[in-house]
Amino acid sequence: MQIMADQDTCVGAGMCVLTAPDIFGQNESDGRVVLLVRTISEEARASAQDAVDSCPSGALTLVEPDPS
């Protein structure tokens, strides 16, 4: 699984950092999401999904990697 963050949508709420601090950080200047990893391991999948669901702006998505 890959985690995607839409920087235009992100409001810098930081809920992802609170939910999954191993996967997400926040940009120091404007608070927007910084992805600490791109690929989400099976073990981290539940917490990544939790962060996606917690995002108040809908900026995060989990996607299956493109097979090509």
């Binding site: 409001v11 810098g12 930081g14 939910t19 950080g25 926040q26 120091e28 404007d30 608070g31 108040p56």
Partner: protein, 411 residues
């Protein structure tokens, strides 16, 4: 499909705000949520809008970019006085509208929020931990100095967030009074527009003096850096400062007092915290959900076009109020929602709102509450109410943030 102008639609309701029990939203609100989670709402100024009162719709609405925060019709207070206050600001004090995040839409909102959000990230806020721990420790020393019983609101709930704000903003602790009193006066919807414009102006003028001082002599804090960054106009910086002063203390103070009341009103709750200090962070989330101090809801959102929201036609200009209290007590989201279960996994509550206007200072509020209750349980494990639960003075219902007026405690 229903429509506010459709005679076959639901009859508009008035927002129920009078509580039967201090901790629970009105039973009527629960009935409305469970039967008609989106329902026509009659506002005090006779505006006809909508009430959204369950979790799913509430979160969807607050995240819907077709709604604006400009010129809301308030759901509490006297309709005439509210409108008159808005008119007074527009005509005589237009600069007070500038820079307030809760009064602007994108693209201004995006720009202003990004300039400030870096100061309120999870990591940045964590840097204030030691300062806040020291402030909390000093207040608990003051408890001992004053002696049992003390008013928790006066000696702890207000001083902690206010002094934390003074420390963060690099202003003298004595300045507390300069933002605390006018903020409280503005929040009192039982007064007239003429009575509210004075403290509103006073708070703004105080923020202006602070900004002028920082411009002359920067002190390495948020305000100084916003000035030096040169990306906000002078009016925007004063507006943002004024907003941080009011939003940065009153909310957390109200939550501290109300949460302490909830914890001490049932000994098993306090004992749970004593026995499970590692669960305090989670308990704070559950208290935020259960108490939802913004009991009347989020700032009303205005439809910017004729639109359809979840099968309901909403006309351009109509206001929609999201009942945060209704959403946070939604049984579809939280099993047994009316139970304060400090052990429950309380994720994703709407106590801080949702969408692009979600509380900028939420991580600071969390940290203060977590540090505060941890220190209280450590130093005053025998803390208890000094009066019966039915004798605790509550605020009137027509306030933005509901909670206790004072809370006598002893140990």
């Amino acid at each position: 499909m229903t429509d506010s102008t459709d005679p076959d639609g639901l009859a508009p309701i008035d927002l129920p705000i009078a509580r039967e029990c201090p901790f629970d939203p009105p039973a009527e609100l629960g009935r409305i949520r469970d039967e008609h989670p989106i329902c026509p709402l009659h506002y005090p100024d006779d505006h006809l809008g909508w009430l959204v009162s369950n979790y799913h719709l509430g979160r969807a609405l607050l995240g819907d970019s077709r709604f604006s925060v400009r010129h809301p019709h308030l759901v509490i207070g006297d309709g005439y006085q509210n409108a008159r206050l808005e008119d007074l600001v527009d005509r005589e004090h237009p600069e007070m509208r500038v820079g307030n995040l809760l009064e602007v839409d994108p693209p201004e909102h995006v720009r202003l929020r990004r300039l400030q959000a870096g100061y309120f990230t999870v990591q940045r806020v964590a840097e204030y931990r030691e300062d806040i721990e020291e402030i909390v420790s000093d207040r608990l020393d003051a408890f001992e100095a004053v002696g049992s019983p003390v008013d928790f609101v006066k000696e702890f709930a207000y001083p902690v967030p206010s002094l934390a704000l003074c420390s963060m903003l690099g202003i003298p602790a004595e300045d507390r009074e300069r933002f605390e009193r006018p903020t409280a006066e503005v929040a009192d919807f039982g007064t007239t527009a003429d009575e509210r414009i004075g403290p509103l102006r006073e708070l703004f003028d105080y923020a202006k003096r602070v900004v002028d001082r920082k411009r002359a002599r920067p002190t390495g804090d948020i305000i100084s850096e916003l000035i030096q960054g040169g990306q906000m106009t002078d009016d925007e910086i004063v507006g943002a400062t004024s907003f941080i002063f009011s939003a940065g203390h009153e909310t957390t103070a109200t939550m501290f007092g109300f949460a302490a009341f909830a914890l001490l009103s049932d000994r098993s709750r306090w004992e749970y915290l004593l026995a499970n200090p590692e669960r305090i962070d989670n308990a704070v989330e559950e208290l935020l959900r259960y108490l939802t101090i913004f009991h009347v809801g989020a700032v009303p959102r205005t439809a910017t076009e004729d639109l359809e929201f979840e099968g309901v036609r909403i006309k351009k200009g109509a206001n929609v109020t999201v009942s945060l209290a209704g959403a946070n007590r939604d049984p579809l989201q939280y099993p047994e929602p009316d139970v304060l279960d400090l052990d429950r996994d309380t994720g994703r509550h709407l106590a801080f709102g949702s969408g692009r206007h979600i509380c900028l200072g939420q991580h600071l509020a969390r940290l203060e509450l977590q540090i505060g209750f941890r220190a209280l349980t450590e130093r005053f494990p025998t803390l208890r109410l000094a009066v019966g639960t039915d004798r605790v003075p509550m605020r009137p219902f027509d306030v933005g943030a509901y909670g206790v007026d004072s809370l006598p405690v002893e140990w």
